[in-house]
């Protein structure tokens, strides 16, 4: 680890009693995920992984590379192409004292196990009147921008936010992905953990010491005073670039990443809007009935008097993600679109 990659930072972790100075190192989003799984596999032998191609190859994106060699085939279980059985297997195994971490290669394919996740995973605890706990994680990765075409680019997190009994995480940085994945694995509730392969090679800081990031705690990625931009997953980066552009227009943008959508930290968003009086919500998922609609509706319900302009939304167009770059760019949110909406809500 080169020394320039290490530094000291004040961060807030679940497992530290207060904010503390910790040494930081720089890793990629992908490495951060792998470290999280590695550390949890080492820490708790009831943790195990399952999914397609996660063995010798270490997953098609490399997130489990080296883990089969280290933990063996019982702890790193390569499965058939059977998304329904993968989710069901994780569900059942979680009921009897183990902590499965299942990988679904693309978010789109979670639809194949939709009954298992919606009617079983999300409901067993409630139906059984709390007799059961389901400490399982379903990891997957979402998003477009890579020419994967209409069946490998979806972001349907809103379906799961609109389902009971499942926590939903959607981290945007290496530090967040590591801290949240570790928290997810230790959580006794089922977690849908949505990564973004577009971010896999991006770098960022993670703490050298163990750091668990709590669910339901948004992160202010940039402070500002004129407009609140709430962004998720890969959109956080675009929002930060947009914030830089807005600065040139003398608009000071605050960028908030909710990090988890269930539970959702409305408090941080409300605090920000109480200051800025304006909000733009950005996600890659279709605008229509997306999480942005929920946040907008709640801002109206809970911050009506704070708002000086209607909350604006920037989301994907309601079409299957087209393959060609010229079309894909049209569908996805962009810095330009964010800037435009931010200006609009600022009436500038």
């Amino acid at each position: 680890m080169p020394s320039e990659a290490r530094n000291l930072r004040r961060i807030r972790c679940l497992n530290m009693s207060s904010e503390g100075n910790v040494t930081m190192k720089t890793v990629t989003y992908l490495e951060a995920m792998r470290e999280a799984m590695d550390e949890e596999l080492a820490r708790d032998e009831t943790v195990f992984l399952l999914g397609e191609d996660i063995g010798p190859q270490g997953g098609v994106f490399g997130s489990t590379r080296g883990l089969l060699e280290k933990y063996g085939p019982r702890r790193v279980r390569q499965t058939p192409i059977s998304e329904c059985a993968i989710i069901g297997a994780a569900c059942g195994a979680s009921l009897v004292g183990t902590r499965p971490v299942a990988e679904i290669m693309y978010f789109d394919f979670v639809a194949i196990g939709m009954d298992q996740i919606f009617s079983q995973v999300g409901k067993l605890r409630y139906m059984s009147n709390g007799q059961m706990t389901l400490p399982l994680v379903i990891r997957t990765q979402c998003g477009g921008g890579r020419g994967k075409g209409p069946q490998h680019s979806s972001s349907t997190e809103a379906w799961f936010v609109h389902s009971p009994g499942i926590k939903v995480a959607m981290p945007s940085t290496p530090g967040d992905v590591k801290g949240l994945l570790k928290t997810a694995i230790r959580d006794d509730a089922p977690v849908l953990f949505i990564e973004n392969s577009f971010l896999y090679n991006t770098k960022g800081e993670v703490s050298e010491e163990e750091c668990l990031i709590p669910f339901g705690q948004a992160d202010v990625k940039r402070e500002g005073t004129d407009v609140t931009i709430v962004a998720t997953s890969a959109m956080v980066q675009l929002a930060l670039v947009a914030a830089e552009s807005l600065k040139e227009l003398d608009i000071s943008a605050e960028v908030i990443d909710p990090r988890t959508l269930v539970p959702l930290d409305m408090d941080t968003i409300l605090r920000s809007v109480a200051k800025t009086n304006r909000a733009v919500i950005v996600h890659e998922a279709f605008t229509r009935c997306g999480v942005g609609a929920e946040i907008a509706a709640r801002l109206m319900e809970e911050a009506y008097d704070d708002l000086d302009a209607p909350v604006a939304r920037v989301g994907g167009l309601e079409v299957p993600m087209p393959f060609a770059q010229s079309l894909e760019e049209q569908v996805m949110p962009s810095v330009t679109k964010i800037v435009k909406q931010a200006r609009a809500v600022c009436y500038r």
Binding site: T46, F48, L50, R74, R77, T79, P80, S82, C84, A85, I87, G88, A89, A90, C91, G92, A93, S94, L95, V96, G97, T98, P100, D115, Q116, S119, Q120, L124, R125, Y126, M127, S128, N129, G130, Q131, M132, P164, G165
Partner: protein, 315 residues
């Protein structure tokens, strides 16, 4: 098999029968909401199978799961209370007849989605294997459930990983109103085992001892690390698919024919024949079953509905 064990089996079958009849009566009286699916006539399977398991083995079950639960040891009072949606029910009234859970007794849920429990049971098998336990999980399913994709994915995984799972089909020849022969092109569902390289066994589901033997064998295979077995128990449900079903898909004669093959009468007769049982003793067992159901009914009817304040607990 020892005689006391046979007695226990007979008695359990009688209790299952009495339970289903009691539920029917209560449903007709309007005390039970929703849709109720009875297993009357299928006691050979539920009792033969569950009593071949150990107390710490698991089962998953279906919308038609009362018999499975009772045979796996669930207490009658909280069970009936659950069917009536009472606070004292197994699941505090949250689940009802189609969603019964009793984790201490290994009842990991009667699942209302047809086929939905098969991957879950498979996962329980993964968990058992992961923990190095010698338990097994028995996964009940109807014949209709074998046409679900979940069946296929789960059995393939179970077979590939040699999981300690017993996949048991209760083939009662029909799914809802649709005869099985109209929706599959094979005679024996046990033949589907060939797609997964596991043993497939056809069992007379109305012969409680045959079921018991087959399950015991499959369980010992599973405990030995040899993987799953697919058991097809042929049987029949006397009642309609659910209470209120006009049964357009079958004849009175067919039902009568199967009533004659009653698994309880058959087993009791065999015990009488070999002199282990007298008709009087049988009558006493029947009475006792009724008495236990009287108690359970009184308990359930006397229990309150769950308090609305608790509605957000355990999400």
């Amino acid at each position: 098999m020892k005689t006391p064990m046979k007695f226990e089996m007979l008695q359990t079958m009688l209790i299952v029968r009495a339970f289903e009849n009691r539920v029917k009566k209560l449903y007709m009286e309007g005390v039970i909401r929703g849709t109720v699916h009875l297993s009357t006539g299928m006691e050979g399977v539920s009792v033969g199978a569950c009593m071949a398991l150990r107390p710490d083995d698991y089962i998953t079950s279906t919308h038609r799961g009362h018999g499975h639960c009772i045979a796996k040891g669930v207490a009658l009072k909280p069970m009936l209370a659950e069917v009536l949606g009472r606070a004292t029910g197994l699941c505090g009234g949250r689940g009802g007849t189609m969603h019964l859970f009793d984790v201490p007794r290994g009842v990991m849920g009667t699942i209302g989605v047809v086929g939905g429990g098969i991957p879950v049971a498979t996962g329980i098998g993964v968990g058992i294997q992961q923990l190095g336990q010698s338990r097994v999980v028995l996964c009940f399913m109807g014949d209709g459930a074998t046409n679900q994709g979940a069946f296929h994915e789960a059995l393939n995984l179970g077979s590939t990983w040699k999981l300690p799972v017993l996949y048991l089909i209760e083939n009662n020849l029909v799914g809802d109103t649709t005869p099985l022969k109209e929706v599959v092109n094979i005679e024996d569902l046990a033949d589907r085992a060939g797609a997964y390289g596991i043993p497939g066994v056809v069992v007379d589901g109305n012969d409680v001892l045959a079921v018991h033997r087959a399950v015991e064998e499959a369980a010992s295979r599973a405990r030995g690390g040899e993987g799953p077995t697919l058991l097809e128990c042929k049987t029949y449900r006397w009642e309609g698919h659910h209470l209120g079903d006009p049964c357009v898909y079958r004849t009175r004669e067919e039902v009568d024919e199967w009533r004659r093959r009653c698994p309880i009468k058959r087993f009791a007769q065999a015990l009488i024949d070999d002199q282990s049982l007298t008709s009087e003793a049988l009558g006493a067992l029947e009475k006792e079953a009724e008495a236990r159901l009287d108690e359970a009914e009184e308990y359930a009817l006397g229990s309150p509905e769950p308090s609305p304040d608790t509605v957000l607990e355990y999400v």
